[in-house]
Each structure stands twice: as structure tokens, then as C-alpha cells.
Symmetry: C2
Subunit: 555 residues, 2 copies
């Protein structure tokens, strides 16, 4: 028996939907050669991460082992899979492998961050493979909601792993390769140790629907519309954008793409040859001269993002375009949980303009992820010894393990930080690795546990009181404490200005305080903070955050 | 023709779901005698109202006319209809009329705020009526998701208005009166000027389902469960709580109610006689001695509220109860848009414990609002001249107007602040009244437009820098500027502490500043703020909020 082992370690994406980052390793324990599959981001929200621009997985563990990291493989170009490659290239340094469309997107990111585009290598599809240390990795085309998605065949002396990537089983995906049952079945022939598998839609019990089913309903909708027809979807869903544009053409409308991401994605798809026969489009300038009943806009912002085209149209205008009574706006998308408020806000804004909004209608959207029957089919095609669910919250992973067990395959519930030893006959937890999140905040990175964002949340919930006291050369207060407040009511219970009440209470405290307190900054600060919070509690019923500045004059 | 007019003015609830407050008036223009229907609250969120405890309609317009306000009528005891009565009793003073159950809840609120319970008058059901100035108002029982909901018949010399309140058409609502078609049809007999009507579910095209349909599926689910069975619903949905408890009993389980609101609502329903034959329950203490497979908990927190029983169980324990592997948790509720994150968080916490969660399954929940077919039926029963949609976002009101027009009834889209003159043959906008929101923030009320919450949001997004400078008797800086930061990274691009970088840049600015700046607080403050923001932008890529304190020593 060899002392080498085959390991799996999710650093992101297992126990959440977002920031996918899965490590595989082979070698002697602690000395494994490593590869990383995907390096994505997740998005901040006001509830938990106010002011944060982007959330990345914490890669400290991997960085400490960068010399053993042979390569990074990106399954597809969604932000939650490719979004962090450029942010971390300087810390990992390993070459990045992806198929042409994904590589095109990754290179744009590298360029924006000032890294060499050459670090991104274009890979060909299976049966070609990329060697990376003890690993041989092949990109197997699979259908999903973005061009050239791939599952990975990861061969090593420890056995074959099939990493599904994000997928659905779609035999007519409009753009890109149809799902090839024979090809996927053939991967099982040498025997598969583990299927590491997308779990997103494990709770969707109905059959998945093909991308090709939305074309006709959308065409009917466009043809029935009288004013301008505007629609939004994820820019990266190139097949859908094509379907929308073709529906517009069929209805005799000129098509105009609005929003940077929309133009960028279509450009990448055309450049890399994955998108052919995309209908001719008009520029926003040309569009403004076309009668609205002959025009279709395809715009960014299907999730209600504040700066995207849809939100700007809802607030008035974008690129000179203005919607009005009688126009139609179609969300050819699903609202991701957490984004409902933003989307509803936009719908109501359009409603105020008299625009008819079509949203949440399954006829005009299909999911890019495998529903439960397709997950089941995948288990049966690949026939792995083990199923390791990934790409899901805890509830999805747990349910997917149950599904595997119903299929008499052992399932392993591994969340971020659980290193699984896949060697031998039964998978086991080899180690718990510390993982976490890193925030892109302005131009720098901060740790999720640094307390910085926690302080922001506290200021937002409690308001902020700033206290200034000046102590003279004899350690006596020079004048009275000075108070400023931010995010707090101007007056409270007593109807006197809040700052006056605070200043009076603080002055009284200073008057009572003995030399022991007045000469000790920590004691004085603690006392002032306590009095300020109590005083605010009495006056306005809130206990604010307090910052104290003590200035001591020296002779 | 009379110079009196009949007016309708929503101060809350029209253009939003929440804080319902609808004014009706009759009399000479500007001198109308007024009544208010409902006085509810809406709930804050981190996105727009961090730190706020509760949101109330701004009633300034009504307060200025309090001498003309004859009475307040509350249709039912949901917080968005009754939640603000006690907050505003001292400012409006008018008597509050409601049926027994609603009055019971309103009195508890009045008591908590130190107001006399006597201001709340218990009304009997139609055909009895309450006189209020020129109005005669009757409470007509209607089915909804809380006991004793009522529509109102509002008669005045200007004609009859039927105000639907929140409703559904349910002939077997389990608790409370079934919908009585004949009774509602009879209201139309004298001719109805306007139907002011619930719009919440206007986009739900399928037939509504009766409360009575969920009992059997829930019973089946409980019977199939092995460990402890825990379920949550809105505490005020007394019929559902009863259905859940009965399902527990039928499965041979002892039932325990957890959470203050749950016990309070059941208490009110029993006290007022609307709830009969509620199964015997056990206390949490007793429950802890009962084998888990013989126990059912009915708990608060269906919307993922942080302090409710469900969230506390998800985080560990509540009242000594702890969930574990093999238990089942049922959400017998719908997640209100905006609450998804909180609910999903709880589900994943339960998943980590091995608890099976059932959520989003229509078999175990029905809506309390009329779907489109029921709205249509209501139009046809009441046969009004005009339909005025209420209780909905703009998109709901607009769609409801379309439905009315499809029924050949004129529809009026009136949002908060639009005063509609219902006299004569065609409704018209009489006036635009300024409306808004008032925040309960700690122990006081603040205006939504006061800028206080805006400042909190800015601190949360941008962080906060505090600058202190001390100027001596000759208007020269005494020492260098002192900087504190909150919610910002400790170090940035230069790797030096951020406060050091800021202090150095500010000291340089002070060194360069002339007497004109140094002697003028406004100029000095503006300069310091500008430099601090630019310096932070260079260093960490963020432009923080800045507070400047200038202390001038005097001789």
C-alpha cells in the first residue's frame, strides 16, 4: 500500500453558493502536489458586508503551499468561478488553464489588474489533457448557462475524479456543445473514485428544461408587444442573449445591447468563435432614431444591481434611452435570493412609468443547473464510488448526500475547510483547515474577521458619538468635554439638543472624577464612554458607538 | 348640487405593502370631517433603515386636522394595520373602534404605552354601525389569516364606500366567520360608490385555497416524522396554529407553544372567545421531560427574525429546547420578499444539526389574501362605480386598476398622498398631500428625511474618520492633528498605519495653511475634510465620512 494520498479540500463554494475554490492534492501527507479548481468571488450585501466591494475566498492555506501548487483550472467564466483569478495571481503565481471563452474572460481580468495575460493558457477539450504534477486534467464540455462550460476529469495515481463543474443536462443549449451522454458515460469506464458534483438545484424535483424551450414563448411575447421591448438576463448567458435578439429580429425589431458587461460578453463570445450568427445590432445612438415599436433593448441588471442599465432605465434614462407608457420590460432571469428588494424596486419604478413588467414567469427562463432528476442521471452515468456534493449551501449538500445514498453510492458532506482523504475504500476527514473570506474594500483587501466591517455595522445600527477632552499641563480638564454625533437624533426625551445633554453629563463626570481617573487615559476613556452611552440611553433609548479622544497639553 | 365632497386619502399602504392608514372625509372642501381606517407599521431593514426599530406613517397632515378626526377604525389585528395606534394615540386622540379580538390586541398596545385602554371601543359586527360625524361605519366579517377580520361599510351623505380590508374568500377558514356571499352581495343593494380593495395577490392567477386544505397534509407530515416536530407560522394566524396543534394531537404528540407573540395571540383569541377547542398544551418545562418523538413545538419566527424562537433554536437552544439529528422543522408560512436571507440562514443552521427542514411547500401553507379570481368575484359582488386598489405596491395597484377596467368598472390608481374626490360621477385628484415615514428609533421618533439614517448608511458604506486639531491663543496649531478611524482598514497601500498617513497629510496641510484658513473654522474644517478624504482615497481607495473637531484655546 502506498503512503501517498489523494485529497479534496474546498476553500470556498461548499456550504454556500459563491466563491468556488476547490483544492485537489496527491502525494505524501502534508507534501501533496496541488491543483486548484476555480477561483471565484461572491457578492457583498448591506446586511453583513456594508461598503465591501467584493468577497474572495481566504487562500492563506494555499498561499503557504504555493510552491506545491501546480496549476489553476477554471471550469467556466461565471464570476463565482473565475472572478478572483486576477486578484490572487500575485499571491499564487500558478498558471491558469481554461478553454478559449473562459480564458478570454480571464485574460481581460488579468489585464485590468496589470498582470500578464500569458499566465492564462487556453486548453483544448477532452480527450486532450493538461499535465500538472501528478495530475492529468481534461476539460469535458458540459451544458450550462454560459458558453464552453466544462466538467473536469482529474486523473492521478490515486484514481479518477470527475468534477462536474456547474451543469445541466441540455441536449439543445442553443450556444455551445449539447450534453453528450455517450461521452460522459465513457468517462466512467476506467472506474471513477469520486464525482464532485454541483448541488444547486437538488431541491428541484421536476425535470430540467432545455434552453431551446424559451425561444418560442419569448418570440410570442415580443410579437404581442406594442411599445419598446426591453429585456434583461445575465450578460454571460450568451445563448439567452442570442435567443432574445433572434426573437426581436423575428418581430421586425432592431436590437440594441445596453450595458458594459453585455457588450463585453458578446464580444468575447464572438472573438472566441463560440457565438456565430448573432443578429446585427444597432448602437444606442442609432437606436434613439428608431421608432420604439421597432426596437428591442437587451440590457444588464437582471438582479436589480444599482448601477446596471435596468436600474438606470428605471430611474430615468440610460444612454439616452427613456422608457414610457406602453413599453414592456421582461426579466428573462430568476431573482437570486437576497436580491428581491432591488428587483421589486425596479419593477415598481417601471410600473410608475406605465411600463408592463414580466417577471418570475417560467416560460421565459430556464435554470442553468441540473435539477434532481439530472443529478440522479449523472450519478448513474458516472457510477462513482463516492459522491462529494459541492456548489451549494449546507442544506443542498446534505440533500445531495441523501440522494447519493438513495442511489447506493456513499456521499460525503464536506464543507469549506474539511480536507477529505479520498484514498482507500472509505473517504475520511483528514484535517480541518481554517478558511474564511477576504473582502475587497476600496483598493485593498481586508479580512472578514478583522472587525472593520463589524464596526461599520455597529455605527449603522447604533450611531456614533465622538468625545473630545483636553487636559492641561496639571492634568486638569481644560474647558468641558466636546461632543459630536453622527447618525443620532438631534433631540431626545428632554427636548434639549442631544449633544448638550451628553456634554453636561460628561462634564459632571469629569467634575466628580479624581486624579486617579484624570491621569489615566484608559480609565478616563472608559468612564467617558460609559457615561455617554448611559446618557444616550436615557435620552434617546440607544447605546451608540463611542470614540474618545483625550488630548494632553504638555508644558 | 351640494358643495360637500367625499374624499379618500391614503397616508400609508398605497404603493407599498405595510403601514396601512387610509383617511376618508366628508364635508366642505378643507373642512371635511374625517375618519381613519387602520394605523399600522412597517418593518425596517439593513439596506435602507439600519438601526431603526419600527416604521410608522407620517401623520402630520392628520394631526394638523385632529379636531376634525372623529374616529379611528381598525379592520384587523395585523401589525401593518394596528401597530401604530398606541404610538400615535397622544397625537390624534380620537377613539379607536375595532371588533373584540382586534380591540384586545390594541388595548395591550395602549397599556404598554401608558395610554388608557378605554380609548379602544369594541364594535359589534354589521348590521350594527358606529356613528362618526357624517359617517356611519359597519364592520362586516370577512375571511383572512387572523381572527375577526372585517371589511368596512362606510356610509355618508356622499354615498357608500366598501373598504375591503385584507381578505380572501374562504368558506371554511377554521377559525372565525366563513366568507358569506349573500351578506356581501347585500351590501351592494343601495348602490356602492367605491370599492377600496386589497391588491396584494392580484398577480396570482390561480384560484385561492381554503385554510381548511392544509390540515390533512400537515397531519400526514407530522405522522411521518420520527424525531421532534417543530413548526412555525405567523403567531396571529390563529387558525393555522390551531391546525398545527390539532395535527400534533392527532399524531399523539404533546404540543408546546414557544415565543412571546405565540402565547400572547392564543391568549387573546381565547379571551375574546374567537378560539374554542384549542388542544391542551404543555409548558416548556413540561416539554423537556417528554420524549422528542412525542413532542411538537409551535414557535415564532417564520420570517427568520433574529430574536424569535426559530432563530434561537437554530443557534442552539430556546427555553431549554435543543433540536438534533432526525427532528423536523416545518415553515407553515411564506417568506415575505426581503426576508429570504434570514430564513435561508436558519434553514442551513438546522441542516448543520441534521434537522430536516420543510419550507416553501404549498401543501402546508395558503395565503390570506384574495387571488385574482377572488378579486374579480368581489368586484362582481359589490358592483361599485369605482374600484380604488389599496394594500399593494405600485405594480399591484396598477394591475388591479387593469382588472377593474376589464370588468368595466373605472379604476383609480391612488398612491400615498393622493387625495381623491369621490363626489360626482368621475373621481378626480383633489390635492397632493405630503406624506412620508416616521421612524421609531430607540425611544424616540425621527423623520425619514432628517438625514440621521442617511448618515448611518454613509458610515456603514464609507467608514468614519475623526480629526482633532487644537489651536492655541495665537491661532497657531498646538501640536499636530490627531486622527481616529472607525470601520476602516488599519493599513493601506503604503503599509504604514492609515492614521499615521492621514495625520501626516493633515499636518502638512496645516503647515501650508495661511492665517485666513487657520482663523476660520469653516474653511479649516473644509480643508481638513478634503485632505483626509483624498489621503484615504490614495491609501485605501475609499472616501470616508469625516468629522472635524477644532478646539481653540482662549487666553
Amino acid at each position: 500500500m502506498s503512503s501517498e494520498r489523494l485529497i479534496y479540500l474546498p476553500l470556498g463554494g461548499a456550504g454556500e453558493v459563491g466563491m468556488n475554490a476547490y483544492v485537489y492534492g496527491y502525494g505524501k501527507p502534508g507534501k501533496e502536489k496541488l491543483i486548484l479548481v476555480d477561483l471565484g468571488v461572491t457578492f457583498p450585501d448591506m446586511d453583513g458586508t456594508p461598503g465591501v466591494d467584493l468577497i474572495l475566498p481566504d487562500i492563506s492555506w494555499l498561499e503557504a503551499r504555493k510552491d506545491d501548487l501546480e496549476a489553476v483550472f477554471i471550469t467556466h467564466a461565471h464570476e463565482d468561478h473565475v472572478g478572483a483569478v486576477a486578484h490572487y495571481y500575485d499571491r499564487l503565481g500558478a498558471p491558469i488553464h481554461a478553454r478559449a471563452f473562459t480564458a478570454n474572460i480571464a485574460r481581460r481580468k488579468m489585464e485590468e489588474h496589470g498582470h500578464s495575460e500569458k499566465a492564462v493558457k487556453t486548453a483544448s477539450a477532452w480527450p486532450e489533457t493538461v499535465k500538472a504534477g501528478p495530475f492529468s486534467v481534461g476539460f469535458v464540455p458540459i451544458s450550462h448557462s454560459i458558453p464552453e462550460s466544462s466538467g473536469l476529469v482529474i486523473d492521478s495515481p490515486g484514481g479518477r475524479i470527475v468534477h462536474s463543474g456547474d451543469f445541466k443536462i441540455d441536449e439543445n443549449p442553443i450556444v455551445g456543445e449539447p450534453f453528450d451522454h455517450d461521452l460522459w458515460a465513457s468517462l466512467a469506464e476506467p472506474g471513477v473514485k469520486a464525482l464532485v458534483c454541483d448541488s444547486t438545484n437538488v431541491f428541484s424535483h421536476h425535470d430540467g428544461r432545455s434552453e431551446s424551450t424559451v425561444g418560442q414563448p419569448i418570440t410570442d411575447l415580443v410579437q404581442a408587444s406594442k411599445g419598446m421591448f426591453v429585456c434583461t438576463t445575465f450578460a454571460s448567458n450568451v445563448a439567452r442573449v442570442k435567443t432574445l435578439a433572434e426573437a426581436g429580429k423575428r418581430a421586425g425589431r432592431s436590437v440594441c445591447l445596453l450595458g458594459r458587461a453585455m457588450r463585453r460578453m458578446i464580444e468575447a463570445a464572438v472573438e472566441t468563435g463560440v457565438l456565430k450568427d448573432f443578429p446585427a445590432t444597432v448602437s444606442p445612438e442609432e437606436a434613439s432614431n428608431i421608432p420604439r415599436e421597432n426596437l428591442m433593448l437587451i440590457v444588464t441588471g437582471s438582479q436589480g444591481e444599482r448601477r446596471a442599465a435596468s436600474a438606470q432605465l428605471a430611474n430615468g434614462k440610460y444612454n439616452g434611452m427613456v422608457l414610457k407608457e406602453g413599453d414592456t420590460f421582461l426579466f428573462s432571469s430568476k431573482t437570486i435570493p437576497g436580491n428581491e428588494r432591488g428587483v421589486i424596486h425596479i419593477i415598481n419604478k417601471f410600473s410608475e412609468m406605465g411600463v408592463d413588467v414580466v417577471e418570475g414567469d417560467d416560460r421565459y427562463h430556464v435554470s442553468g443547473h441540473a435539477n434532481r432528476p439530472d443529478l440522479d442521471a449523472m450519478h448513474k452515468l458516472i457510477k462513482p464510488q463516492i459522491v462529494v456534493p459541492m456548489h451549494g449551501e449546507h442544506r443542498h449538500l446534505r440533500e445531495h448526500v441523501k440522494l447519493a445514498e438513495a442511489n447506493r453510492i456513499s456521499g460525503v458532506l464536506a464543507v469549506n475547510g474539511m480536507m477529505i482523504d479520498l484514498s482507500g475504500n472509505a473517504p475520511k476527514v483528514a484535517e480541518y483547515v481554517e478558511t474564511g473570506r477576504t473582502y475587497v474594500d476600496g483598493s485593498i483587501k481586508i479580512g472578514a474577521m478583522d472587525g472593520i466591517v463589524r464596526d461599520r455595522i455597529r455605527m449603522a445600527l447604533n450611531g456614533h458619538v465622538m468625545i473630545n477632552v483636553i487636559m492641561d499641563e496639571e492634568d486638569e480638564p481644560l474647558g468641558e468635554p466636546w461632543v459630536e454625533v453622527m447618525g443620532l437624533a438631534e433631540t431626545g426625551r428632554s427636548r434639549a439638543p442631544l449633544v448638550d445633554v451628553l456634554e453636561e453629563d460628561l462634564a459632571q463626570f469629569m467634575g466628580r472624577a479624581g486624579a486617579k481617573t484624570l491621569t489615566n487615559d484608559d480609565k478616563l476613556e472608559e468612564g467617558l464612554r460609559r457615561v455617554a452611552r448611559q446618557s444616550a440611553q436615557n435620552e434617546i433609548g440607544k447605546r451608540p458607538e463611542v470614540t474618545v479622544v483625550i488630548s494632553r497639553l504638555t508644558a
